[in-house]
Subunit: 149 residues, 2 copies
């Protein structure tokens, strides 16, 4: 019984070239969890998940350099447990990769979180309409929107 995937197997299973796996290992992007006595690579389950994630990011035209940073933060989540995976999602857009963990969204690169609900803004504004019942002609406001372009 084997304890991991060889470079070639990992390549076949992820669609990445051996050259890439080598380079990625050498540069620390994805280092196989195990090694044979002779010093040969043996990729583990998590490795494959990460490799496939990287593959998809590449397909989405995310540069390797950006992926490097992304995987770092992704690595912070993966080790956790098995459940989190189900709650984990990646959102990839033109320029950014976000890691979603439940309700929260983190920039996979900076790790910063920046989410805010529109409803919150609406609530704030709404609150401003009622309170100031002052100079009988200033505030009184209207309710309805007629949105602009």
């Amino acid at each position: 019984m084997q304890s991991g995937f060889t470079r070639q197997q990992a390549s076949a299973l992820t669609g990445l070239s051996c050259r890439q796996l080598d380079y990625w290992r050498k540069t620390g992007l994805v280092i196989p969890q195990q090694q044979t006595a002779g010093g040969h690579s043996r990729y583990g389950f998590i490795d494959l998940v990460v490799l496939r994630a990287a593959r998809r990011l590449l397909d989405a035209d995310i540069s390797l350099q950006r992926i490097r940073k992304c995987l770092q933060s992704l690595a912070r989540f993966l080790p956790a447990s098995k459940h989190p995976l189900a709650e984990l999602s990646l959102v990839v857009t033109g320029d950014v990769v976000l890691v979603f963990h439940g309700e929260r969204a983190f920039d996979a690169l900076t790790g910063q979180e920046w989410v805010f609900p529109i409803a919150e803004l609406a609530a704030e504004v709404e609150k401003l309409q009622q309170p100031p019942p002052q100079q009988g002609e200033l505030f009184t406001a209207e309710k309805h929107p007629g949105v602009r372009a």
Copy 2:
């Protein structure tokens, strides 16, 4: 009884300068929903929500030009109804603004959607571990279409 906020009120309520409101109006970023007979601006409820959203984006170091594009897509959601607001969220990161509507995430700029769950990847990999109980040698064929350009 009036129907809207004056420039100065809007300024006070959003923290934006009158100069900005003027410029934004002139350049079409946020055009007051109404006008007085004399041609003076009267900002409406939605205007304030949009202005405050813009304000927060500015605070997050999103450039005005980017905000211009963001608000365009935001405008596509706001007009909808009243409920959506509660489900709407903005995620702002270094480079991108995403509009979240329920489960979906849209790039506020391009409108493209690109989300994928990690669990999915894990499931795929997991499926690959069980089936191949073959000749103790190695995998024969590759599953993947192969290489990208």
